[in-house]
Amino acid sequence: MQLPRGDGRAASAAETARGGSGLATAYHALDDVVTRFALRDAALVVDVPSLGRQVLHAGRRPLHNDEQHLHHAQPGLYLDPPVDVPLLAEVMVAMTVLGFRLDAENPQSALA
């Protein structure tokens, strides 16, 4: 599958990865997915060793009444409308877990 060209946000996410927190990088990448696929919404569900199940909503927006029942969801990338790109989901989940781990090990990165 050929991903459409980005609008520069991917470069921004990569820049965040160099000097920002793991959490900020994950949100940047998630927002970039929304933009590139012209989605209405996106969320990530991950299992973090020290935190348990965690849900990230694009744009850091509240889940409100969680109409997608993400609080019950298995780890993965949840896109609205659905887009079937398994590798993207795997990479996003792995990167986000790694980001949480890095932030736990280096809290100063989250202070930047």
């Binding site: 020290s50 927006r61 889940l63 609080h71």
Partner: protein
């Protein structure tokens, strides 16, 4: 302190699985989604953290999901007293579990961190295998009626996990003891 740091601290509160932010008419709304293992003090802890990190006005909304069976009643450690001995340069934290008592002592050389140390040592009387080490503590606010809001952190170096708690007290020392217990209580309650 960045929004990332606040979000990470909020996600570190027991039971919290999602954090979101919104703005409405000049008010920052912090929404937490929490599972059945969230503690009763979640709203208070989250509000104290948010107030210490964000420019006000703000509101904290908690969405609780009550899946699963009711949680078992929790055992909690109680604060009995915090005493200082200036001549010896030492402070003592007195805790209780039911009728049992424990005292943790530490040098006063490290300010509020000494209180966290003494509290952790006292907790170890009940839980010798407690993996958490003292991290830091600081007073984040003093209220007009001279109550002290304190944040405290403890760290499990092996699991690389941090627990943070917030509490207030009549003195910074009392606030630091209560904040340390607020950080630990939910995790240790199953073993008490």
């Amino acid at each position: 302190m960045s929004l990332d740091a606040l979000e990470l601290e909020l996600r570190g509160l027991p039971g919290v699985f999602a954090v979101g932010f919104a703005e409405a008419e000049g008010v920052t709304i912090v929404e937490l989604q929490a599972g059945p293992d969230a503690c009763d003090e979640l709203a208070r802890d989250a509000t104290l953290l948010a107030c210490s990190r964000l420019v006000q006005p703000l509101a904290v909304e908690i969405v609780r999901w009550g899946d699963g069976p009711p949680a078992a009643p929790e055992s909690r450690l109680r604060v009995l007293d915090v005493t200082t001995d200036p001549a010896a340069g030492e402070l003592a934290v007195h805790l209780a579990r039911g009728d049992e008592r424990a005292v943790g002592r530490a040098s006063t050389a490290h300010g509020l961190l000494s209180v966290v140390e003494a509290t952790v040592y006292a907790v170890r009387t009940f839980l010798p295998r407690l993996p958490y080490l003292p991290g830091w503590a600081r007073t984040v606010e003093t209220t007009p009626d001279r109550r002290f809001l304190v944040l405290a952190s403890v760290t499990d170096p092996e699991a690389r996990s941090h627990l943070r708690g917030a509490a207030e007290g009549g003195t910074p020392l009392e606030g630091a003891v209560r904040a340390t217990l607020a950080a630990l209580n939910r995790t240790i309650s199953r073993e008490l």
